[in-house]
């Protein structure tokens, strides 16, 4: 039995074990991995970077904890970028398990912005992030398609009060902010088909600028919307989050994970190549023996 034959008959659990060892080792050993920023992520960053102080961005946290690994770093990087630019943020969560994570993200980012820090050579004074002034968290409502349509008329229709029970009119940043027309950018960070609703019921109906933060599994299927101009930019998976973190000069969990991604991909590519060579050799052997 040659090496390839042995590999073809290898128990898949050995491959899992090998992958786990490689991932843990590459996590333990800190080495630099260059991150190439793609134009579709760059466009989102540039858009936010060029927003004026006091502009409003709506960020929809439409994912569950099972997508947290890829999408939470995106949310953190993007919200921190907005608040550093003194851009106001309206949060909403159209996924039922999202509000808790959104609340956690708001608290964590508010804490990190309280410290003086330097990003891309620019010094930022720490400041307090105030509910109702810097952000408004609308919370969750069921039936996302109807909620998206209703928000196009007035945020107050589906959300008369915010997540914490304050009437929207009592929040300074919501005075005069009624619908998508008063918002400069809508970002859907999503791990499911809510993104389709944002494109069909939101962007195509109300014609606002829409950017997407998607899980890796979904990313390829949304590129046609980028080409048609319905979507302004896409951040795809952990790589998209790492690119945003790099542009913001705010290294977080996504950049930290890229060296593991690199090592894991090398292992997977190695096994795919070996498996294919083994398959071809097996076929040739069977052909020679008259099996096929």
């Amino acid at each position: 039995m040659d090496l390839f034959e042995k590999l073809m008959k290898l128990d898949r659990r050995w491959i899992f074990l090998f992958l786990i060892v490689v991932c843990v080792l590459s996590y333990a050993i800190d080495f630099y991995v260059p991150i190439l920023v793609e134009p579709e992520s760059q466009k989102i960053y540039d858009y936010v970077e060029n927003l004026e102080e006091g502009s409003i961005v709506l960020i929809a946290i439409d994912y569950d904890p099972n997508n947290m690994a890829e999408l939470h770093p995106m949310t953190y990087a993007m919200v921190e970028h907005c608040w550093r630019k003194k851009v106001k943020v309206i949060f909403t969560s159209l996924s039922q398990n999202g509000p808790g994570m959104a609340d956690q993200a708001i608290r964590d980012i508010s804490d990190s912005l309280a410290l003086d820090r330097t990003y891309n050579g620019v010094e930022f004074k720490g400041r307090e992030i105030v509910n109702g002034v810097d952000y408004c968290f609308l919370g969750y409502k069921p039936y996302y398609a109807l909620v998206i349509l209703a928000m196009g008329q007035d945020f107050r229709l589906p959300f008369p009060s915010d997540y914490y029970g304050n009437p929207l009119d009592s929040l300074p940043m919501m005075v005069g902010t009624h619908n998508y027309g008063d918002v400069d950018l809508v970002v859907d960070v999503s791990g499911g088909n809510i993104t389709d609703a944002w494109i069909s019921y939101g962007q195509s109906r109300f014609n606002f600028t829409l950017a997407l933060g998607l899980t890796g599994v979904m990313t390829a299927q949304y590129y046609p919307y980028l080409g048609s101009g319905q979507v302004h930019g896409i951040m795809g998976g952990l790589l998209g989050a790492a690119q945003y973190e790099q542009m913001c000069d705010n290294a977080g969990l996504a950049i930290d994970g890229m060296r593991i991604q690199l090592a894991a991909h090398v292992v997977i590519i190695f096994f795919i190549v070996m498996g294919n060579i083994g398959l071809l050799l097996e076929r040739r052997r069977l052909k020679r023996e008259g099996g096929i």
Partner: protein
């Protein structure tokens, strides 16, 4: 980190290991974690639905009426209509009365279809068709920004690839003519385009799955090991060495179970040999 939080974090780490133990084989630890996820998700969803749906959208709107008058004396009694429609849905549990549920279902499907069809057609069919039809090749920026940049979606080359690729892929799905000659060759090119698309999806999927594992490694290290074993930057308030015992106990249970499974497997193999 206080003791209570440390226990929760330990539970999180244990459940992470329990879920990943499925990679070896189905086992009781995995089953516990799996059932817990389903139960917690269902419970959480029920509470969220009550606080964000039923309570504010129905009961709070009727709350100026009296429940023993069935809220008929409320200032907004028309909210009882969706409530009745909602209750009608539950008649599905009775064979005799199941037909009643068709009325709210018909209303719901009718409204959803009416809203969806024009918007879906506009966004996902017409706009995509226009994007291909209106596309003119940008000869001035044919190779993209910076000389030769295939990642530049605005470059003429990218536009040409999208146009030719879309046409070839559509031709592959045209079955009214035999796939021979130039037509067949174009259809074959269409398959290649589709395969490249599936390959891109597969690559992203691999990245997504690895990302989930990375997140768990980061959790176990940052949230559990570094804090739990007091090796992190922030010392734990009231930390004592007993916490580490819990960690090693969990590790021992999982490792012990795996060793026992391996021994059983080897014994079975020996017997069958």
């Amino acid at each position: 980190m206080d003791f209570g939080l440390y226990l929760w974090t330990t539970l999180g780490a244990f459940l992470t290991l329990a879920i990943f133990s499925f990679l070896y084989k189905d086992n009781p630890f995995y089953k516990i974690a799996e059932h817990l996820v389903v139960g917690v998700s269902a419970g959480y969803f029920a509470v969220i639905l009550w606080h964000n749906g039923l309570s504010p959208n129905l009961f709070q709107r009727l709350n100026d009426g009296n429940w023993y008058f069935l809220w008929m004396d409320s200032t907004a009694p028309w909210y009882l209509i969706p409530a009745i429609l909602g209750i009608m849905m539950y008649t599905r549990f009775s064979k005799k009365w199941a037909w009643v549920s068709r009325w709210p279902m018909a209303l719901y499907i009718g409204i959803a279809t009416g809203v969806a069809i024009p918007l879906e057609m506009g966004a996902r069919v017409n706009r995509q068709l226009f994007a291909i039809m209106e596309r003119s090749i940008d000869w001035a920026n044919f190779f993209g920004v910076g000389g030769f940049n295939l990642l530049d979606t605005a470059s003429g080359l990218s536009q040409l690839i999208v146009f030719v690729g879309a046409m070839a892929a559509l031709i592959y799905f045209f079955f009214s003519k035999e796939h021979t000659g130039l037509f067949g060759a174009t259809a074959k090119f269409g398959i290649w385009i589709l395969m490249i698309g599936f390959g891109a999806s597969f690559g992203y999927t691999v990245m997504a799955r690895i990302s989930l594992f990375i997140n768990r490694i980061q959790y176990i290290d940052n949230n559990w090991l570094q804090n739990g074993l007091n090796t992190g930057i922030t010392p734990i308030e009231g930390y004592h060495a007993g916490y580490a015992v819990i960690f090693w106990l969990v590790v021992l249970i999982v490792v012990g179970y795996i060793i026992r499974e391996i021994m059983t497997y080897l014994k079975t193999k020996e017997k069958s040999a």
